[in-house]
Symmetry: C2
Subunit: 256 residues, 2 copies
Amino acid sequence: MTTRKDPLGGAVGNEPWWPTGRLHTRSGREPLSREQIVEATIRFVDREGLDALSMRRLGQELGAGATSLYWHIKNRDQLLDLVLDEIMGEVRAEVPAAQAWRDQLAEVARAMRRVLVRHRHLASLLGERPTLGPNALEGLEWLMGTLRHDGFGVLDSALAVNLIVNWASGYAVFECRDPISGPSISPDERQASVEAIGAMLASLPADRFPNVVAMATETSHLTADDQFEYGLARMLDGIEAHLTPKEPAAPPAEPS
Amino acid sequence: MTTRKDPLGGAVGNEPWWPTGRLHTRSGREPLSREQIVEATIRFVDREGLDALSMRRLGQELGAGATSLYWHIKNRDQLLDLVLDEIMGEVRAEVPAAQAWRDQLAEVARAMRRVLVRHRHLASLLGERPTLGPNALEGLEWLMGTLRHDGFGVLDSALAVNLIVNWASGYAVFECRDPISGPSISPDERQASVEAIGAMLASLPADRFPNVVAMATETSHLTADDQFEYGLARMLDGIEAHLTPKEPAAPPAEPS
DNA sequence: ACATGACTCGCACGGTGTACGAGAAGGGCG
DNA sequence: CGCCCTTCTCGTACACCGTGCGAGTCATGT
């Protein structure tokens, strides 16, 4: 509400574009900000895991008191919503722009998986709370736009986008959940869990679980990328086969 | 130090993680049992939600002290593992036996979604912990067996099963996640909340989110079943198209 | 009669989220 | 200059959490 003159003639009425708030608190440090808290939360959870996250520990991470955070965020749940939307922004930021709808959907799926695997301890949040933040909506809007520009109808775009994004998210969540997968954990951790699960599967009676044992042995050379690309290809094949014969590059398109 | 025996399968070497120890009551009165605790947990969470679950409240549900439960279960996490495997047993129990692989996979996907929606507050657990319990393994073994019996190779079966089960689980988790939590169990109420979210999306600023708004309005008549069946059909189409024309023996052959 | 094993449970400890209110400090205004 | 108002931090407090520990109860084996 400060009515200060804007020397550069900015159009802002309420706030200058540069923070004019106080620079020092009684402890001499810059005040917290919501962005700072969200960033610190992501950093902390990436490093120590989601179970280790508490408001007190997060306060320590920021060199602040635990309850100081509550001036900037409503509660812990809202903080997690902000965190989730932030990494949805990461997805949106790093998906390459492709020409054809098929490549576009594939790149979105890969970017979603890449980001979730990078923040593997945050992936499980996707199963607990809806992602309706501004970044998620903006990404959805953009992806819908590219498909429509390729000649997809609204209904076809919605179904295809929903299917691809849902599947890629779910795949990544399960991949991050399962310690046997997840290429971003340290090798010794991964080795330990692989051996543990392998030993468990080996302990299964081969007469009662012949197919599971066969599966475990014959798929041992498959990486998570292999299975992801397999599913992605099958899904895009199914979508493509279901399209009406009229092809892209046609602005108007009607759902079948 | 007291050297008490406990019914849990402690000191595991290559044993599966689930408890293998037996328990039997000697007293005339019926004491607690692991099955009783698991059943009460499912009942409680279905009624009051996952956040309301605590060992003290669960003890009240059973008319027992909170710490009495710890004789039968190792800790809360193991209890949730048991709960998850129990509803995996529900899935296994109610999937109809079909003849063709395509119908078989479809019925498994539908049963998975049906059970998770029935226990909607438990669905999010799937995103947090792997499901490697005996019921899940048995169902996996059985499904792999049916596909192999239909001529699928081990690798093809594994990829297809993994894809379908992962997708159906993820879809159901997200479906259960989106409706606002509450005592609503009936599908009508659930559908109502889905429509409420659709209405919220349709009220977004149409100039900034034209495609999202168009999607929300044009898909308002779609039920969750419609979208599930759409995705299921696309996925099975993709799998079918990838099969070698005649019979099994299709190596992974992953495109890039 | 006595020991033993199978359970149950009260207590306590250190942790959690967060409501509350006291305080500190910079900016605006007299 | 003093004074207040807004902004922001944080210590304290409260109810609740998971669960380790050991004492207590009771049926059964010998």
